[in-house]
Symmetry: C2
Subunit: 396 residues, 2 copies
């Protein structure tokens, strides 16, 4: 891995083996900005919210932060007020170790729900983390936050503002419980751009909408998701012009889109990445509902796995999506091969060609409803034996 590429000036990171995760793997990580950074966050919409979600949401409110501590192996969710105290203590310990206030420290956790965090383990890990801080260790953070992920997820972008180059670096973890809005997903994005917190938040929200909120692995949403963006201003650019903002927001969207697709590609047991594109829905909410219903249908997802262009299941999913639709208008394609025209199958030859495309690791399912002018897209994966194996055995 080209580690230089993953350095963002003014940020250091570290990861250690604490024992929270089984099997002697990196499981606690720290990210620190050498100076106060603008920060923005997006948090799970699940009504059951893990302790670190509650705490970090409070800590990003003033738009400023300096550090993120993240652990895998234990989600610190459904742990009540003792769990919230544990998250607070973690922030306190990190703040003391780094000489900053606890309010400048964000906390993120992922892993098993409903068990108290072992605070002895966390307390022992913190001095090791602060000692190991280094500018080129961000890829290790990507490893430390993995749970059932099979590969670390990193993406970066380089831009210019006011003649000064800047970088956006994102890391994420995903795998299960992936579904809008937010999932068992952690995403940390670091940049050296100079930007005010309100503008940073605006860029984050618009990017989340078209990236993390448009992916699904299994339709479940988690208690622990968060996306945090920190920008420390070391690039030294001035106030962003409208054009420069657009480039930054575009870069952020690219990084987050990249990470979101990696999360689906690495969905639990997934062997295929499928983009479900809805065209010409009656309304924007219809477009999203149609995309979501198809992308989450177990029957459609097993058909992807079976490489079977079983469009009857797709049409049946649309039929229960509670959208405006007229069966006789529906057209369906697998990549460039049209398998349904006006609600009717186009025959064995078209299906044979579509089945060949479905042997690929990535393809697009396009559905034209011919009801209006609204489009949307969900990125999903197939439902496989391996998904069942992973989730039947997760805790045992």
């Amino acid at each position: 891995m080209d580690t230089e590429k993953y350095i963002v000036q003014g940020f250091k990171a570290s990861a250690v083996v604490s024992g929270l995760k089984k099997g002697n793997a990196l499981d606690v990580a720290l990210i620190v900005s050498e100076r106060e950074a603008a920060v923005a966050g997006v948090f799970t919409t699940n009504k059951v919210r893990a302790a670190p979600v509650l705490l970090s949401e409070r800590h990003v409110k003033n738009g400023k932060a300096r550090a993120i501590i993240a652990n895998a192996g234990n989600a610190n969710a459904c742990t009540g007020s003792p769990g919230l105290n544990d998250a607070r203590t973690t922030a306190d310990l990190v703040g003391k170790a780094l000489g900053m206030s606890a309010e400048e420290v964000l906390v993120a956790s992922t892993g098993v729900i409903g068990q108290r965090l072992n605070m002895g383990v966390v307390a022992r890990a913190i001095p090791l983390l602060t000692e190991a801080l280094s500018p080129d260790a961000l890829p290790l953070v990507a490893k430390a936050i993995m749970t059932t992920d099979s590969f670390p997820k990193i993406s970066s972008f380089e831009g210019q503002a006011g003649g000064r180059p800047y970088r956006i670096m994102g890391i994420a973890k995903g795998a299960g419980m992936i579904m809008p809005h937010m999932a068992t997903m952690l995403c940390f994005i670091l940049s050296d751009i100079s930007i005010d917190p309100d503008t940073l938040k605006r860029a984050l929200l618009s990017s989340v909408r078209s990236t993390f909120n448009r992916i699904t692995v299994d339709g479940d949403t988690s208690t622990n998701d968060m996306v945090l963006v920190m920008a420390n201003g070391l690039a030294g650019n001035g106030v962003l012009s409208a054009g420069e903002y657009d480039i930054f927001a575009g870069g952020l969207r690219d990084v987050m889109g990249d990470l979101a697709r990696m999360i689906v590609r690495d969905g639990e047991g997934a062997t295929k990445l499928v983009s479900v594109d809805i065209k010409n829905a009656f309304s924007s909410s219809d477009a999203l509902k149609a995309a979501r219903t198809v992308a989450n249908s177990s029957l459609v997802k097993t058909a992807f796995y079976g490489q079977d262009p079983n469009w009857g299941r797709i049409v049946a999913a649309l039929g229960r999506a509670e959208i405006e639709m007229i069966e006789e208008r529906v057209d369906i394609w697998i990549d460039e091969v049209q398998i349904v025209a006006g609600g009717l199958g186009r025959g064995a030859e078209a299906e044979k060609r579509a089945a060949e495309i479905m042997t690929r690791k990535e393809f697009t399912l396009t559905i034209d409803l011919h009801q209006g002018a609204y489009h949307d897209r969900m990125v999903t994966c197939d439902l496989t034996h391996e998904y069942v194996t992973i989730n039947a055995d997760y805790r045992t």
Copy 2:
């Protein structure tokens, strides 16, 4: 099988091997009432509705019918107006063969979506069916309508009205695409009770609500579902008293509840039947939403399969159900073992006992939200490797 038990006076049935289904199996069936019967039906809520659904819905409108022809192997869904013509032709042919009008014939199909029915095969089958009609062949109909079902589903009830005994006999098929409202599910119920069509419809609707509309296998709903009830009056009872109506409606509900549970027990790949009982929700719609969301969660269903009392997934599913809930109030039981009290886990010992219960083929997951006074229940199954195998390979 005790065939006498499955005779309802005045009804005859038959089933033959036509070739619509692979492997030389019974696949077309006929049920005939010797005299005009009161009829009521409930049909899929999917916006994509198969040809036989469109036709039979029209034919039950006047509350009278005499025959049902059903086939497996081909759903005659997404086949456009040619498909509707095929269904109409089928009813015509049966009507001619039996000397009744086509409007007295109901048509039902289940199987692959999107392929035209082979009408030559159907036409050849009809004379064989009429020739084979016999009072004790209803169990054969249950076999003929099976698709991925592993056993035929039959249930019966005996009651008395006006001093006259009557019988209710129900047969059904299910397996995949099971989810309220209605599924790839066919259910035919026959009775010799004397009842007017409006009263019959009332009894049917109230029974569907608490039986077929409270089961789920995979959250998908089908294009072809229907429940038909025919009552030919041969029992000779008079107008039902309020008490007699209640007994009849209760019997109907028992038969349909029985069949609904059989459908879940035989859900594609299912190894466990789980009743998800919601207690004390804020509203009736919240109770149903909570039950549905938990009963359809892939993560919860794989945990059932893994015999893992992973209550974090249950709480996380509740959290995204869009209901009124306060995490700190939630109590959860597996049968009589409480695993969550006030939103917190009750520890390893309770989970161990719950895990033992989950090795059983049937158990109840009870969730008390402590938000109000509304209860509801969904019956679901686990999500297994076999489900994926069946649905990845269905057409190949």
